[in-house]
């Protein structure tokens, strides 16, 4: 319950910060890729489309593989709320429909931020979000425009 009350507050705060151009500085999650990844910036619509299964490539034709975290984790709800503007229930309903109608599969869910970091390091095509605490030099924060 407590988490649910906080989330909109953060969301509001985050929105205000976005408008002040202080991107991601205080975000609860960071969108990251491998330091060797060929891209370092994404548009917010690209990011949303990639995570909702609407596309698998970005503008320059590069394949991107999104990584998810399990349902119910703080990072996941944080991520979807901020970057897609949808609740976990809505995301779930979306994937239910996608799967049922055979149009796609949800991103692979790794157990936690650490697991995500491990995968990102070994896969330059992978894209993930993590708790900022797990950020290290092997990763690069993706600038969301």
């Amino acid at each position: 319950m407590v988490r649910r009350l906080i989330a909109p507050g953060i969301s509001l705060l985050f929105g205000a910060m976005l408008s002040l151009n202080c991107t991601l500085a205080l975000a609860e999650v960071l969108v990251v890729v491998s330091a060797d990844a060929p891209f370092t910036r994404l548009t917010s619509s690209d990011l949303r489309d990639i995570y909702l299964g609407r596309r698998t490539q970005i503008a320059n034709g590069m394949m991107v593989v999104p990584l998810d975290q399990p349902e119910g984790t703080a990072a996941r709800s944080e991520f979807y709320t901020h970057f897609t503007g949808q609740t976990p229930a809505q995301i779930k309903a979306h994937w239910a429909r996608q799967i049922f109608t055979g149009r796609g599969q949800p991103p692979q869910a790794l157990a936690n931020s650490r697991a995500v970091v491990e995968r990102l390091v070994s896969d330059t095509k992978a894209l993930g979000y993590i708790d900022p605490a797990f950020l290290d030099e092997r990763l690069r924060v993706v600038t969301i425009e």
Binding site: K92, A93, W95, A96, R97, I99, F100, T101, P106, Q108
Partner: protein, 741 residues
């Protein structure tokens, strides 16, 4: 009428075709709905079956793996190999024989105790479908037993694998676009229990559906949709029993929703029909009105033509000045009257009228006055006769009145008198009173003629007679009149050739001295030797000659021939005689009179002193000044002037005194009176005496030259200078007489 029939037919077509279209549309919509239900069902069936297969495959995979690896970390291993369906929706659990969850993709379930599936058979494999209500959602569970097949003696129910899925998953393909708000997607278990169903946004389960009853109501419930009535909604429905699974799917489309579109369309169609009808009626009304106006216009033109034709006809048959029937119309009317008379024995009369002195009025007062006069006369004539009589104008001043149903003179006479008196009423023309009268000639049908031409001729003749008799009177046609006319016509035609064919003769009377009785001179008298009528005197033809304009040449002929005869006698050696020639007023007042006298004298070479011109008393007094001038010229030539018939007129003695007259001829009537009463004798004697006193020679007229002594004896007291014989002789006879002397 035509337009209402057309309107009715067109409305019939409009509404008929609309009805047809509406019906067709309804059928099409129903058919479309049925097709849609079929399509949606096919797709839904395929998706449900695939989803169920995937679930079953996952169950079987977990069981297989578990049985081959022992029960440790089966799910973890499979998940790492990404062989399990996404944990986001699918919760997979391994349960031991006691119902304890030993491993699960949802770690929160570990250690919980689950109840075994409801319909668990005691042996063999199975797929059980069940439901679980969690705090957040309703889940469908699919369960298969974990058959540890190596030891048949061991408990069969050694555990099971369960996959729990949010029930919504199975109806997530609901699309409002194709299914509407009242459509139905349902997954139904055995016994008609609804596992999950979605109507619009509403998802529910647990209700009962009478699938068996629905399916038995139709022959082919699998592919041919049928109407169901479930939870107060009517739907086109299809039911499919899923192969290999204890489940059926039900797809329904709300009949009301599908037809709503059709209803809208139908309403639109009816509206269009109504608009079209209204438009049609308006157009037809306008056309009808235009047609009506056109017809009225045509009628008007026709009417105008008729009126015009009537006017033309009126003009053709009426005189424009007086608006009376004209000659053509009169001719027609007379012909009609003749026909009627012929058939019914009815008689009628024609009155031919000619205004007296009209030419004079026209010439002196002008044509406008003449026209007014004619109009007034027309009016008076019309009011003088009965309504049934016809007054027509022939032209000029000639009118004809057709009196119907009269047969005797005494019937016509009063009418004619009435007309005469009506016309005689004074007219005021151009500011002055103007006396006018009319001469009327009457002819009667059938007595005076049996056809138009004869009747008109007869009336014309009678009118002429009336003119002759002094105008302003009425004359009836008689056969004598006709004979007279015939003579007149004969004379008229004869006159023109009489001069050329030398039919005129001169006769002579001698002039004698009173004392010795010897011949002093001759007087030339004109006679016409007519080929058929014999010898004619001037009184019988001279007025005709005047009318026909040949009086002057005749006068000239007389003058010349008289002089020539006189010269002949002189050449024969007879004593020189005077030659007297009667001169008419026409000749006397002609401008070339004096010249014609001198011409005659020059041509014949006769001595002017031998020529005596006889002029009547009345003639010389017509214009005394002019007469005086002429006389003076004659005197200059030496020609003598004789006044004929002295004592009959009322000569102005003073005038006579002024004029240089040579001789007076006393008329025989005056001579008669000399032997009458003493009063008469005195008067006559005074007249003769007066002549003598004016120092004129006085001669008596009409004395028999063979008995001159008797005359002299009886009238000796009057001292005549001489006398004229009363026996005209031809030139030859005169010659004989002279020779005998």
């Amino acid at each position: 009428m035509l337009f209402s029939i057309v309107a009715f037919m067109m409305l019939l077509v409009v509404w008929g075709s609309t009805y047809f279209l509406v019906n067709k549309e309804r059928v099409a919509i129903e058919r479309q709905a049925e097709l849609s239900v079929g399509d949606i069902t096919d797709t839904y069936e395929a998706r449900v079956v695939r989803a169920l297969r995937e679930i079953d495959t996952a169950l079987k995979l977990v069981r297989f793996t578990a049985n081959n690896t022992g029960h440790a970390n089966v799910l973890k291993a499979l998940n790492e190999q990404r062989l399990l369906p996404p944990a986001l929706l699918f919760t997979i659990s391994l349960v031991d024989a006691q119902g304890m969850v030993v491993e699960s993709t949802d770690s929160g379930l570990l250690g919980l105790r689950l109840t075994p599936p409801l319909q668990t058979p005691q042996e063999g494999d199975y797929l059980a479908v069940g439901e679980v209500q969690t705090d957040q959602e309703k889940q469908l569970t699919f369960t298969r037993p974990l058959m540890l097949g190596l030891a048949p003696t061991q408990e069969i129910g050694s555990g099971w694998v369960v996959i729990a899925i949010d029930a919504n998953y199975f109806v997530s393909s609901y699309e409002a676009r194709s299914l509407g708000q009242q459509g139905l997607l349902a997954l139904v278990g055995e016994g008609g229990i609804v596992r999950v169903r979605r109507i619009g946004e509403s998802i529910d389960s647990g209700e009962l559906m009478a699938l068996a009853a629905w399916q038995s109501s139709t022959l082919d419930a699998v592919s041919v949709p049928f109407l169901t009535h479930w939870q107060d909604v009517e739907r086109y429905t299809l039911v499919r029993k899923l192969y290999d699974f204890p489940l059926s799917i039900v797809v329904g489309l709300s009949a009301q929703e599908q037809l709503a579109e059709a209803q809208l369309l139908v309403r639109k169609y009816w509206q269009r029909a109504a608009w079209t009808s209204a438009l049609l009626l308006i157009i037809l009304a306008i056309l009808g009105r235009m047609s009506w106006q056109l017809q009225r216009e045509r009628q008007r033109v026709m009417d105008e033509r008729v009126v015009h034709a009537q006017q033309v006809e009126h003009l053709a048959f009426h005189d424009t000045l007086t608006n009376l029937p004209n000659r053509a119309f009169l001719s027609h009317l007379i012909t009609q009257a003749v026909k009627l008379g012929d058939r019914h024995g009815e008689s009628f009369a024609l009155l031919f009228l000619d205004l007296d002195r009209f030419k004079l009025i026209n010439d002196t007062l002008g044509h406008d006055a003449g026209d007014h006069l004619l109009q007034e006369v027309a009016r008076r004539l019309t009011t003088s006769v009965r309504e049934s009589d016809v007054v027509a104008r022939l032209g000029g001043d000639e009118f004809v009145i057709l009196l119907s149903k009269v047969s005797r003179r005494d019937q016509i006479e009063p009418i004619a008198q009435k007309i005469l008196s009506a016309v005689r009423d004074p007219f005021t023309l151009a500011g002055q009173e103007c006396p006018i009268s009319v001469s009327i000639g009457v002819s009667l049908y059938p007595v005076d003629g049996l056809d138009e031409q004869t009747l008109m001729k007869s009336a014309d003749m009678a009118m002429y007679q009336a003119k002759q008799l002094g105008k302003n009177n009425v004359q009836f046609y008689t056969d004598e009149l006709s004979a007279e006319m015939d003579v007149r016509l004969t004379l008229e035609s004869g006159l023109h050739r009489a001069l050329a064919s030398q039919e005129f003769r001169l006769f002579f009377q001698s002039k004698h001295d009173i004392e010795v009785g010897n011949t002093l001179g001759m007087e030339a008298l004109l006679r016409w030797q007519h080929p058929t009528l014999g010898l004619l005197e001037p009184a019988q033809f001279m007025s005709l000659a005047e009318e026909n304009g040949i009086a002057m040449p005749i006068g000239q002929w007389v003058l010349e021939n008289a002089c020539r005869q006189n010269m002949l006698w002189q050449q024969e050696g007879f004593p020189t005689l005077t030659m007297a020639v009667k001169i008419s007023a026409l000749q006397f007042y002609d401008n070339s009179f004096v010249k014609s006298i001198s011409d005659a004298l020059t041509t014949t070479g006769m001595n002017p002193r031998l020529l005596e011109l006889e002029i009547t008393e009345s003639m010389l007094l017509q214009d005394v000044k002019r007469t005086a001038i002429i006389f003076a010229e004659l005197k200059k030539m030496g020609v003598k002037i004789v006044v004929d018939d002295f004592g009959t007129g009322y000569s102005s003695l003073s005038d006579l005194n002024v004029l240089p007259v040579d001789t007076l001829k006393v008329s025989s009537s005056l001579l008669k009176r000399l032997s009458g009463s003493s009063h008469d004798q005195q008067l006559s004697a005074s007249v003769i005496e007066l002549g003598k006193r004016l120092s004129l020679q006085v001669f008596a007229k009409g004395i028999d030259p063979r008995e001159p002594t008797r005359f002299i004896r009886s009238h000796s007291s009057f001292h005549f200078h001489g006398f004229y014989s009363n026996r005209p002789l031809s030139a030859e006879e005169s010659y004989q007489e002279k020779t005998n002397r």
